[in-house]
Subunit: 190 residues, 3 copies
């Protein structure tokens, strides 16, 4: 069984870098938006991001509606210039799950490798991992990543990407740090 | 080498659930449609689905033509309300292979993780696995999954997904069973 | 850790087959096009392809501009009938990285499994592998594959696909060799 990169490889540098970036969490849940369910995943993600060093700037809970989802994502990127947005919920195969469809109208560049890596890591834990239709992509200088609605799955998924997020955000915003150099230093530590 | 989930994890429950769903098999083959090749993959898939407990409702063999493929898929979903459709053939890189192109006009939501998992499992057996352009997706309340034309490859591919199909079909049709609960019970058995 | 198929499985046959096909290398680099960086990746890929037996027919270095990239790819396929085109650079998440966007307007069929396999293999070496947005696809009878800009990453990525390329090119051009037979002979050697 391959070991997925769940832990930051050089923790101090990661923390330092994450401090530069703002973040927000968006929860998609029909039940949650009617007050019928506590948003455990959204709370967990906010806590995790702050622990990583990101500046938490916004949180919202919206129903599973394409327009509502797209509207707040666009506002957070275009007006509020939030660097990193994590969403939770609406990525499955139920008729109400429309997060990926909302993303299609929001992102300008897709990053398929992020979703592939999250699903591949989950698949080592459960065959149901194939049902996540989560996508990740760039709008402007912001990165938006979909996560499943279950707290456990959301945590397992984002842990796969945490090590690379500060570097990704730096590049998305035009940083010219050398990937190869960073990579060599990473490999030297392995 | 990671063990891919080839076997149903809790067989009794799976059989029970599969009984609720109808299925069909569509074979794409220019040679087969001219009677020049016996459709071994289509026969294998019909047998496998029935053994899993699904109610076999339809089978057809069509040439590798986008319109012919799309027409029968739409009919099986919109008119016949078939829950699960497996296709075999036309997923490769030959000029005649157009199954994915036909799917684009039929499905409303893509489930990329299903195709990724099938290819990843096949890649452990042969480097040619990368050539399958198979996709899986949802139209209405039906699930359509492309498989390669070779009997061996089709079997290896669908075996990766069999454990999750009844749960997937339940969710696609609006079932509200808790994924997390199902998942925990699965993990408890591992 | 799964062993990725980095070496041709039956070397003699592969060499023989590669001899039938022409190839070209396209490097995307703003710095390179201004003469500010030596194109090490492009040079490495040309050497590697010739060593595999392919007939090198063209090489170019263009800036990271969608129109410039698309124009030369279309010319190499439609006019020069080059069988295999490898590109290097422009696949990341920087604002200047637009190779995948250029590809969207060029390819007629995408082969998602090629990009998935390259990313999955890279992910075993570095968590930054998820940032490659490289795609592979078919235009006419030609195969175009994006690779990252770093020489090391480009080499690691293409090595995953080298074993299957001659067979892929044969099929793309309408060859009717039996995949299953080839596959069985491959497996027999493993």
């Amino acid at each position: 069984m391959p070991e997925w990169p769940k832990k930051p490889l050089f923790e101090t540098e990661m923390r330092h870098k994450a401090n530069r970036f703002s973040c927000a969490v968006l929860t998609m849940s029909d039940k949650g938006s009617r007050g019928e369910r506590v948003d455990e995943s959204g709370a967990m993600l906010q806590e995790m991001l702050q622990k990583e060093g990101y500046q938490l700037r916004a949180y919202a809970l919206v129903p599973d509606q394409i327009e509502a989802i797209a509207e707040i994502l666009v506002q957070w990127v275009d007006q509020d210039k939030i660097d990193l947005i994590l969403t939770t919920g609406g990525t499955g195969v139920s008729p109400t799950d429309v997060t990926p469809e909302a993303m299609r109208g929001v992102i300008e560049k897709e990053i398929p490798g992020m979703a592939e890596a999250m699903r591949a890591a989950s698949l080592l834990l459960t065959p149901h991992a194939v049902l996540s239709r989560a996508i990740a992509g760039i709008r402007g200088r912001s990165l938006i990543i979909n996560l499943p609605g279950s707290q456990k799955a959301a945590r397992e998924n984002i842990e796969v990407l945490l090590p690379t997020l500060p570097h990704a955000l730096d590049k998305i915003q035009g940083g010219t740090s050398d990937c190869a150099a960073l990579r060599n230093s990473t490999e030297a530590q392995i």
